[in-house]
């Protein structure tokens, strides 16, 4: 919970930073003008900066062009991908229908967009406490399935990755090198593998009656994320000086205390990276999800895929794009909040000197 609060605080700070960015920009420009006027900087010097910045901006625009293009498509009228009149659709036709559709008609939030409200139920059902949706006959939608899967993936992933990375980085044990080597070899056998072994997986799951089980699917994603992320985190931990741990030990901290109070906080950037990657492992995958799950349990990724393949021959593009944009939003937010950590956390294999 506190982690959540911290995350929210971080997001808020970022938003504030974003909101004040224009002001800072103005200040920057004022300063540049001042510096030129007072002769602290030459005009050419400022011009160079401006040109570089513009060049950077242009590059960003080019790189993000596909997303920009499809976002305009999501705002346009109709469902066709192409706009024969030009690259972008006519702005006068822009509307939010597609987003309205995603929220209130698709299964994004609630099945058939039928919003209700949750009601806590004590006792009864499968667990002690469960909750039920009131005011909707259909129930929570794909978002909740996705979140459930991602939670399982994150919980299982972190539960296995963090201790293992620590052990690899700090302990000596039988088979350490071998396992690590194996992990490195398998880091990239993921995406392709899931297609390749789809049938094998399906038979495995169905043999044990584990199909249509969000929990198991979450575990599966965690499994696929383990090698790469363990290795990543291990590399990161390698760079944390050992003396912090020793200091904690001398301070009387038990092993668990040391982990909680020292290792984890110091590993934060690494954890942020792992968070993103593990999250993406559970969030984006759809091929296996679709094969293993039944429709009522489909996560957003499968729903998205289904929109793409919905029409016999064509795709309702505005809806597809709107859905995808909303789908990518959480990841974007998490990344945005953790950008600095991610950039720090991925720094390895760099300078030795």
């Amino acid at each position: 919970m506190s982690a959540l609060a911290a995350l929210l605080a971080l997001v808020r700070a970022k938003l504030v930073a974003l909101a004040t960015a224009p002001k800072r920009f103005v200040v920057m420009v004022q300063r540049a003008v001042y510096d030129v006027r007072t002769g602290n900087r030459t005009a050419w010097d400022v011009t160079k900066s401006v040109l570089m910045t513009l060049f950077g901006l242009a590059m960003v625009l080019v790189l993000l062009f596909p997303l920009f293009w499809i976002t305009t498509a999501s705002l346009a009228e109709g469902t066709r991908l192409f706009n024969t009149g030009g690259i972008f659709p006519d702005p006068s036709t822009y509307n939010l229908d597609a987003y309205r559709w995603v929220i209130f008609e698709s299964d994004f939030f609630f099945v058939d967009g039928d919003w209700g409200y949750p009601q806590l139920v004590l006792g009864g059902g499968s667990g002690l406490v469960s909750f039920r949706w009131v005011g909707t006959d259909t129930g929570p939608g794909a978002l909740f399935n996705s979140l459930y899967i991602v939670s399982v993936t994150l919980a299982a992933g972190f539960g296995m990755i963090v201790p293992a990375a620590y052990a690899f980085s700090r302990r000596q044990f039988i088979g350490r090198k071998r396992i690590l080597y194996g992990y490195v070899l398998f880091t990239q056998i993921g995406a392709g593998l899931s297609i390749a072994t789809l049938v094998a997986l399906y038979s495995l799951f169905s043999t044990y009656g584990l199909t249509n089980n969000l929990f198991i699917l979450g575990l599966f994603y965690a499994a696929s994320a383990i090698p790469f992320n363990t290795w990543l985190l291990k590399t990161y931990m390698d760079n944390i000086p050992v003396s912090y741990e020793e200091a904690a030990m001398v301070d009387g901290a038990s092993f668990l205390d040391t982990i909680r109070e020292v290792i984890l906080p110091l590993t934060k950037p690494g954890l942020a990276v792992v968070l993103i990657f593990v999250w993406l492992a559970g969030w984006n995958e759809f091929i296996i999800a679709q094969t293993l799950l039944r429709p009522e349990n489909y996560p957003l990724s499968v729903e998205l895929y289904n929109i793409a393949t919905q029409g016999r021959f064509s795709t309702p593009w505005t809806q597809f794009a709107a859905f995808a944009n909303l789908f990518a939003l959480p990841v974007a937010i998490v990344y945005f909040a953790a950008q600095r950590s991610v950039e720090d956390g991925l720094s390895f294999g760099g300078m030795e000197g």
Partner: protein
Amino acid sequence: MASSQIGTGGGLSRLRSALPFSNRDWGLLLVAPGVLLFSSFMLYPIFYLFYISLTDATFAGSVIGGGAELIGLANYVQLIGDSQFWTSMTTTWLFVAVSLVIKVLLAVGIALLLNHVRVAGKRYMRAAVIVPLGFPGIFTITVWRGMFSDARFGVFNTILGRYNDVMSSLSAPELLLFDVPIGFLSGRWEAFFAYVTTEVWLAYPFMVIIIVSALQDVPRSLHEAAMVDGAGALERFRTVTLPAIKGPVLFASILTAATSFQQFLIPWVFNQGGPSRQNELIIVYGYREAITFNQFGLSAAILIVGIAFVGLFMYVAVRYGGLAEGVGDE
């Protein structure tokens, strides 16, 4: 990291052997759950797939339903004799290589630019530039498929058309004009180009983050030392920046190359490896054999070969690319 000079390097292996009670193997306990989970969900299916590749399974169900019989290595033998297999292999490697080169160049360029002192707001730009990472491949690839439409009103053809208009209004020579509409998806190399472009776009964010990280770790004093040594900007890039990012770039290259090798969605969504199966990357090839031609055993053999290649590739890369430095540092 704040102060990473504090006893790392040799300190690590020292610690490993030095921490009290460390020679007990309980580290294994921490690693075991992950290994177990990984093996059961990842390794097991591979073995299963290998088993299938030894059978005459025709469709998925014949495996699950038990209707397949072991036929030894016949599938592999058939594979070797299949020209499509070799086409697919060549194309796949070519795809990996070409996209890798472009990816690296592009990512280094972006990272340098977005880490340059003169660029204002570079943090925001860096945040923006890696957004593609957050979108699901099925979406972005479908979008790219749309943009690469062969039709004159396809996005790229429209852009090229506009470019032509501008150029010819400048009365530029014919040579600089494009012959629109370009059949991005209907020509073999055009389609290949479209695949590569898309693959590059999908993979550059990861590289950019890694390179940016590395760039930020380069001590300023190294640049200054080079400056004092009389090195110009280009030389400094060569002697200071490049070596500093070489490791990370290599690392990212190996990872993305392995992913490229397994690229499925791009060819599948674009034109199913066409035209005329000329661009069937290896996974697409395997997938098609299974789904379209009901050659499940053969398909499994293809995929096993594919996986073996990735494994081999990783092995070589790890061995000779110094990737395993962190693995066996004793």
